[in-house]
Amino acid sequence: MIGYILRRVCAMALTFWAMTFVAFLIMELPPGDFATTRVSEVSAAGAKIDPAMVERLREMYHLDAPLLERYAVWFGGVLRGDLGYSLAYNTPVNQLVASQLPNTLLVEGLTLLFMYAVAIPIGIYSAVRQYSAGDYVASIIGFIGVAVPSFLFALLLMWVAYSSFGVVLGGLQSQEYQGAAWSWGKFSDLAAHLWAPILVGGAAGMASLIRVTRANLLDELDKPYVTTARAKGLPEWRLLLKYPVRMAMSPLVSSIGWLLPSLISSATVVAIVLNMPTLGPLLLTGLLVQDMFLAGGVLVVMAILTLIGTLISDVVLFWLDPRVRVSAA
């Protein structure tokens, strides 16, 4: 087990380096840099800008150095735990990320739990009762969930909440509790804000999760080992959970890795609509103004989350599937 995890961690280190390099290259793709964006911003506001000042700006931030050199400097910082300095916010990136990361993990973690807790039972039900009324209802809801864009769902939710209940959705905390010490009031206030992003974020992912669970399980249900278990006289639900459902979970578990970062990036628009203090909007700002260090910093965090997710799924698979265990030994 320990050897298996160590091997995985070594592979992860390589992957991490590759991910940062590719992320850096992609951020370099659009023409111009932070300085040109700044110039166009200022001139759009009607002011004149001194070309010498632009040059000074470039020099100050090493924007003229060759690509590989800039990457080396930046990656060296990342390895030391320093994500650089955000030009747009005039703040260290570490500080920006640190302020948003707990919120992000809270919202996305709960969304993930919510998704799995609701979608997997529904998926199991609609596979076992294939073509029943319940299966059709679940499928229809699933397709609607896939088809409706998340931001639209968020807007609808806000409108319904406001017009019917007079509640203004948005943010994670009311004004009065910001910066306040933890109390029951603060906790219930947080819960009152949390449900909306969890529901919106969960809806889209949940729909596909239902479909995947259903399809995986349908593949397993007619396998001979299920017939064997039935021939033993196991009660139907117990045999379903012990045998085919366990096998059908393997592909889902393997997807945990890329689910974590995709939740963050797909939730960006929703987070903006709902005014959420999470990493998504931060990434968007960084990319819009070509603030390399900010965008890069958020991407590094997402890369780390991906790797942690992959490690989790590897460990769970190790436990779930003895074939992995035996071949790793």
């Binding site: 039935r230 033993k232 012990k242």
Partner: protein, 569 residues
């Protein structure tokens, strides 16, 4: 007086499909008594498996019992009258009562133990589960002890180890033993065995059959044994029920069925199996090989052929392992001779066949082929492509006619493809050639417009053969050409191949695991075991007086389709 355990009356099991209803079981009746083995024998599609599954109500969707009775007789201790009679056909398939029948009265073992056991649970875990369903109050530790004890009774060498292992870590025979242990864990009165030895090697089959026989007599089990193999029936049955198209056409004692078969289908089934017990009548027309040995040179000379596979593992290719699939194999094939290569799975026979036709590159040794112009060609290391005459002269017949034909091509395109590639005929000429080939293999020329799915297994194998002979080959390698076919079709297919041999001057390298095919079809035989040749000689010499221990064991393991020929177990 043996007690009646199960009485099936006028059972009908149907599979309603979109357009039709498949009447898999169409009104069958039979009885099963304590301590006897009832063999249900039939070819594919006869409904024998659906009948077995109906008894436990474990039919695949959308199968359903629509009529009839399955009367299970329960007895208390040694009473002669049943304490209860339960009609299984009336129970709901997920009902509590049905679960109780499965937990204590009837168990089942299946054909493929690899897929019939869960790969995510250890063997011990799966056996313990059955024990605890029977004895809900037993402590888990005691149940584990009992599971190990059961595995010991299955004659596994290290039962405690096997209990802790997963099915994919065991050999096929060990898996089937674990399966039987699991079935018997519930202390049933009735054991249903659905083709339990079909997926096993013949020597393993003999061991499993002997084990089942021993368990039947020591436990007084009633066994319903489903099989397509007439030899197995002759070996183990007390009574026989012959099924055809969902009906039992004949039932009776073993001897009466074999000695005085009444129904034409029974006669046909027995005759097909027994026909393979002696050389084909068509073989008499082939010139005896010995008489020509002096002045005829072999068409293929295989010398010290080796094929090694490299198994890689790990990120950096460390833990390098080699598998010697074929190891120093030598034999000759004379013109118009049929050389049989016989061996069990893993013996390297198929790998060797693939080396000859160029699907694998040999790693060592040589294969000298004498071509049409009497020149010697080294096959080893030669890449066959483009218009290489070898591609036309050395051809292959494959095992599974369902996967060997491209479903998106018509039969005409399939058979015509090698001719087009060889550029020997085009257009109308090609079409005429394909028509000629189809009639050669006993199909009608107008069938060339159809797609493979419109044909039965036997017809598809004829198409495969037509494709093999399309380019006027001289040497044909047939890899298990009859194993996917029903017994009644095997002799037909072999006769067709012999007829073609007489007409077209072919030589065959015939790969098989089935001794009866060798006896029927071949002149000489090469016995392979774990990549090596253990014995070669004429078919008569090797089959009647084997000299090597492995050959002796192999031949003794084959169940003969004649009850009087059975060696006592």
């Amino acid at each position: 007086m043996k007690r009646l355990l199960l009485s099936v009356r006028n059972l009908k099991t149907h599979f309603p499909l979109a357009k039709t209803i498949v009447k898999a079981v169409d009104g069958i009746s039979f009885d099963l008594f304590e301590g006897e083995t009832l063999c249900v024998v039939g070819e594919s599609g006869s409904g024998k498996s659906a009948a077995a599954r109906s008894i436990l109500q474990i039919l695949d969707r959308p199968g359903k019992i629509v009529d009839g009775e399955i009367l299970l007789h329960r007895y208390r201790e040694d009473d002669t009258t049943p304490s209860a009679i339960i009609d299984i056909a009336k129970l709901g398939r997920s009902s509590r009562a049905m679960q109780m029948v499965r937990r204590q009265d009837i168990s089942m073992i299946f054909q493929e133990p690899m897929s019939s056991l869960s790969l995510a649970h250890s063997c011990g875990d799966q056996i313990v589960e059955a024990i605890l369903l029977r004895h809900p109050r037993m402590a888990k530790r005691d149940a584990w002890q009992r599971a190990v004890e059961l595995l010991r009774q299955m004659q596994l060498p290290d039962p405690a180890l096997t209990a802790s292992q997963y099915p994919f870590q065991l050999s096929g025979g060990m898996r089937q033993r674990a399966m039987i242990a699991m079935a018997l864990a519930s202390e049933p009165r009735i054991l249903i065995a659905d083709e339990p030895t079909t997926a096993l090697d013949v020597t393993t089959q003999a061991e499993i059959l002997a084990l089942l026989e021993r368990l039947r007599s020591s436990l007084g089990l009633g066994v319903i044994f489903i099989t397509h193999d007439v030899g197995v029936v002759a070996n183990i049955a007390d009574r026989v029920a012959v099924m055809q198209l969902g009906k039992v056409v004949e039932t009776g004692d073993l001897r009466s069925i074999f000695d005085h078969p009444q129904h034409p289908y029974t006669r046909m089934l027995l005759a097909s199996a027994q026909r393979l017990e002696k050389p084909s009548p068509l073989r008499a027309t082939v010139v005896p090989v010995e008489s020509t040995h002096a002045n005829v040179r072999p068409i293929l000379k295989v010398r010290d052929l080796g094929k090694t596979f490299v198994l890689r593992r790990g990120l950096l290719g460390n833990g390098l392992k080699e598998l010697r699939a074929v190891d120093g194999v030598s034999f000759d094939v004379m013109p118009r001779e049929n050389v049989g290569i016989v061996g069990e799975s893993g013996s390297g026979k198929s790998t060797m066949a693939r080396c000859i036709v160029g699907l694998h590159n040999a790693s060592a040794g040589s294969m000298l082929y004498r071509d049409a112009s009497d020149g010697e060609v080294e096959l080893a290391g030669r890449v066959r492509k483009g218009n290489d005459p070898l591609l036309r002269e050395v051809r292959m017949i494959f095992q599974d006619p369902f996967s060997a034909l491209n479903p998106r091509m018509t039969v005409g395109q399939i058979i015509g493809e090698p001719i087009r590639l060889a550029k020997t005929a085009r257009g109308r000429e090609l079409k005429e050639r394909v028509a000629e080939l189809l009639s050669l293999v006993g199909l009608e020329p107008r069938m060339m417009e159809r797609y493979p799915h419109a044909f039965s297994g036997g017809q598809r194998q004829r198409i495969v053969i037509a494709r093999a002979i399309a380019t006027s080959p001289r040497l044909i390698v047939a890899d298990e050409a009859t194993s996917a076919l029903d017994v009644s079709l095997r002799a037909q297919m072999l006769d067709l191949m012999l007829e073609l041999q007489n007409r077209l001057n072919l030589s065959y390298v015939f790969i098989t695991h089935d001794i009866s095919n060798i006896r029927y079809f071949c002149d000489r035989v090469v016995v392979m075991h774990q990549g090596k040749v253990v014995e070669t000689g004429t078919v008569d010499a090797v089959l009647n007086a084997p000299s090597h221990d492995y050959t002796k064991r192999l031949i003794a393991s084959v169940p003969r389709p004649d009850p009087s020929l059975q060696t006592p177990q």
